[in-house]
């Protein structure tokens, strides 16, 4: 069976999921009977088919499983958001359209993605500029103690979602050039392999950027995600675990030094340690405490679609940000441990496909780009799910393709387009 036919069959699970999910909500909320929900499902499936037909023409040899896996996540996310708030689901569906348009545009205009290498410093500067934007007055602003979003008119935008792609492109390109030198010029010192000082500079710059994010954006999660992606790429490029160890040590020391100076980061850590502390549980610790309470209700099989208690009867929010930060807690509540593990498994399959693409790629830039994009994607999932389950302090990044959020959807579709481009090039017969 050809790749594209496999992809077509791969879309079947999403079709089933959409039908089952929307039917469940439809049946359950039958008092406000509207066949709108079923229309949503149909439109979404139509969009997926359209994208599939586009891939047939544009990237005939690309990995056949990635798009269906993403479609499963996206349709699942849409059903969850629909269940939380129908108006948000409508907006999310619109963002899907925008995301798919940008997905196609990326594939058409970046057919030879290696051109990106030529603009690597521009891309790096733009990405860092994007990250700084929320600190600027007028467009930016403090939300929940961190600078993560900008507002232009009615549109709120999370620049970090796009910056992560730009920074991975830059790092992949930079490390392609320097990986040999980093390895060959390295010296062993006190049992550690230390890269040559000359090339240490740019690495220090990346470390500095991560620290700056901690200070400027005040968000531990995002800086963990960026610096983690950097270390992953550095490791893939050099195959030196010692670099990673040094990097992690530097990050830990930096995070401890700067983190303890920044109230917001410090608070997050205090909350993380004991969110149930009586003075915290109804204040700063409310979000994580409620997240855990919601998950405890889920049990093994969950309470069923639409059964999670999100609002206090008579008014008031019980579970804050159920459609963005805490959507994983809602999934766990309604579909239980089994459903949550299912979602994690889909992410893991995407990560597996991503790394496979990296291994199949024929040039180092492609390999590093695919590995970097996959790593930053996986880290994002780890940072938000780990935050919601109290593995690490909770920070406000989205669950890719599932959480509500325009920038997240659009940026992740661009990320997907890049992965498929690398894959198509690698698998095209000579």
């Amino acid at each position: 069976m050809s790749e594209r036919n496999r992809e077509l069959f791969g879309l079947l699970p999403s079709a089933l999921l959409l039908t089952a999910g929307f039917t469940a909500i439809f049946v359950q909320q039958s008092e406000q009977l509207s066949d709108l929900s079923l229309t949503y499902g149909a439109i979404f499936l139509g969009l997926c088919l359209a994208a599939h037909l586009f891939l047939r023409v544009a990237l005939p040899h690309a990995d056949p499983y990635l798009f269906p896996l993403v479609a499963v996540l996206a349709s699942f996310g849409l059903v969850m958001i629909y269940r939380i708030d129908q108006e948000l689901a409508r907006e999310q569906a619109q963002w899907f359209v925008v995301g798919l348009i940008l997905f196609c545009a990326t594939i058409v205009f970046l057919r030879d993605y290696r051109r990106l290498e030529r603009y690597r410093y521009t891309i790096a500067i733009v990405s860092i500029g994007l990250l700084m934007l929320p600190r600027f007055p007028v467009v930016g602003g403090l939300v929940n103690g961190a600078y993560l979003s900008i507002s232009i008119g009615p549109i709120t935008f999370q620049p970090a979602e796009f910056a992560k792609i730009g920074i991975v492109v830059f790092l992949a390109s930079y490390l392609r050039d320097t990986r040999q030198v980093l390895v060959l010029g390295a010296r062993r010192f006190l049992g550690l392999t230390i890269p040559p000082l000359k090339h240490f500079g740019p690495l220090l710059v990346v470390w500095g950027a991560a620290m700056m994010m901690l200070i400027v954006i005040k968000d531990l999660g995002s800086s963990l995600m960026f610096f983690g992606a950097f270390l992953a790429l550095l490791y893939v490029a050099t195959n030196r675990a010692s670099f990673v160890v040094v990097g992690m040590a530097m990050f830990s020391v930096g995070a401890w030094l700067f983190g303890s100076q920044i109230e917001h980061v410090k608070d997050r850590v205090t909350i993380w340690r004991d969110p149930f502390e009586p003075t915290l549980v109804d204040e700063e610790g409310y979000q994580i405490a409620q997240s855990l309470f919601a998950q405890a209700d889920g049990g093994v099989l969950g309470q069923g679609f639409g059964q999670a208690l999100l609002h206090i009867p008579g008014g008031g929010t019980l579970l804050p940000a159920p459609h963005t930060d805490l959507i994983y807690a809602v999934i766990t509540d309604e579909l239980g441990l089994v459903g949550a593990c299912g979602v994690l498994l889909v992410y893991l399959l995407i990560v597996e496909r991503g790394f496979r693409i990296a291994m199949l790629a024929r040039d180092s830039f492609s390999t590093l780009l695919a590995a970097g994009l996959t790593a930053v994607f996986a880290l994002q999932v780890f940072v938000i799910v780990g935050g919601v389950t109290k593995v690490i302090p909770l920070t406000g990044v989205t669950l890719p393709f599932v959480s509500y959020g325009g920038s997240s959807i659009v940026a992740n579709f661009v990320l997907l387009a890049l992965l498929l481009l690398v894959s198509d090039r690698a698998r095209t017969p000579d």
Partner: protein, 473 residues
Amino acid sequence: MFAPIYRLYVLFVALFGVLVFATSWWTVFGAESLRENTANRRPLLEQARIKRGLIKAADGTVLARSVQRADDTWTRRYPQGTLLSHAVGYSFLRYGQAGLERSRNEALTGERDEITSVFDQLTGERKVGDDVITTLDPDAQRTAIDALGGQKGSVVALDPDSGAVRVMASYPQFDPNDIPRTLGRLNRDPDSPLLNRATQGRYAPGSTFKVVTAAAALDTGRFKPDSVVDGSSPKEISGVPLFNSGGASFGSITLTEALTQSVNTVWAQVGETLGKRTMARYMQRFGFYNRPPLDYPAGQRFASGEFFEGELLSPTSDRIDVGRMAIGQDKLQVTPLQMAMVAAAVAGDGTIARPHLTDRVVDPDGRVRDDIGRTTFSRVMKRDTAATLREMMSNVVREGTGTAAALSGIQVAGKTGTAERGDGTNQVWFIGLAPVEDPQVAIAVTVERTDGQGGTVAAPIAKQVLEKLIGNQ
């Protein structure tokens, strides 16, 4: 660059493994402690979203029902108001639960075993509780409350064959509908209206306890109904002279006669002859020294027995004056429910059926989920002993202290009791059963702080309730 990518993938698998572990921790292994966390309002809110089942009387009268509020939660209404307030209790989100509402909470909220709840979860069924059909008789309950006539006290009536509680009256009452507004005030009220005197009131039993002594005396074979004992007054018991009521001396009389006239000195001597161990054995068979069995919250059921400084003594404690205990004095404190169980043992051929307020639990589709039925709680005495005792107790109502309980056409057996309280008033009692030839009702009546006697105050109340219950059958 294959090897590092592969190792990186393994690392991510491990990281995701951590996420799976964390998720299973919060959803399964640590879920219990999260649900018990006081900051977690979810369990309470969930309860408010459940439509609790109905509580109904034996005749179908609705005693408690759920009404929906504007915010999609449910609250409780009690259409009978004060009438069955203690037995039914109340259930309000912010004020807690009491009575059957508490003890039958699982059934009323529709809690099911794991398999059924998994099915409900998958179908996303909205939760509706099961209905609880009680054994209570609202007509007889009303009669009991009216007969108490505003005096503090209690009436408990059991079906000796099944153990069904048919009347559980306690005065003063409260209106469960008003609990959200009045709970604090009711708690401070010196008349303790929230106290269910039937199960929580502890009183000196007076001469009604002679039924327990008589059961032990006859069942051990140490005495016969016509055994003769010296009934002169005073008589030295445990080194202190004991007087008969009004100081009357009876000379040598039979036990039947001594029960009919409630002769203290005779029964005290019987108690001393039987001894502490025998008395303890029979008391425990009747249910003394343990919380009585009932589908009612444990915290609202008190044990009966000898008390010292507020603590239940051991049944064979050295502090017990067995002679005085045998006539219901000493440090005895008993609940009306316990005394109704004493009557039920005599009525039920020597065995006590486990008392219960719930007849059956019925799910919303009308299927019976739980049928309580009869289970034996205790074998107290031989069938013959119970028959002999019924005969002796019939005499009490026919010609002794309990004539006020007599019904026309129906033979009643019983025993009165009058315990003097320190403040010059009496705690008066009547325990009994009817009809003697085939007992259908066992009853205990008590009234606090009255100037009257068991025979003049409690017996007429018992008469009215017995008449109503037997007439209703």
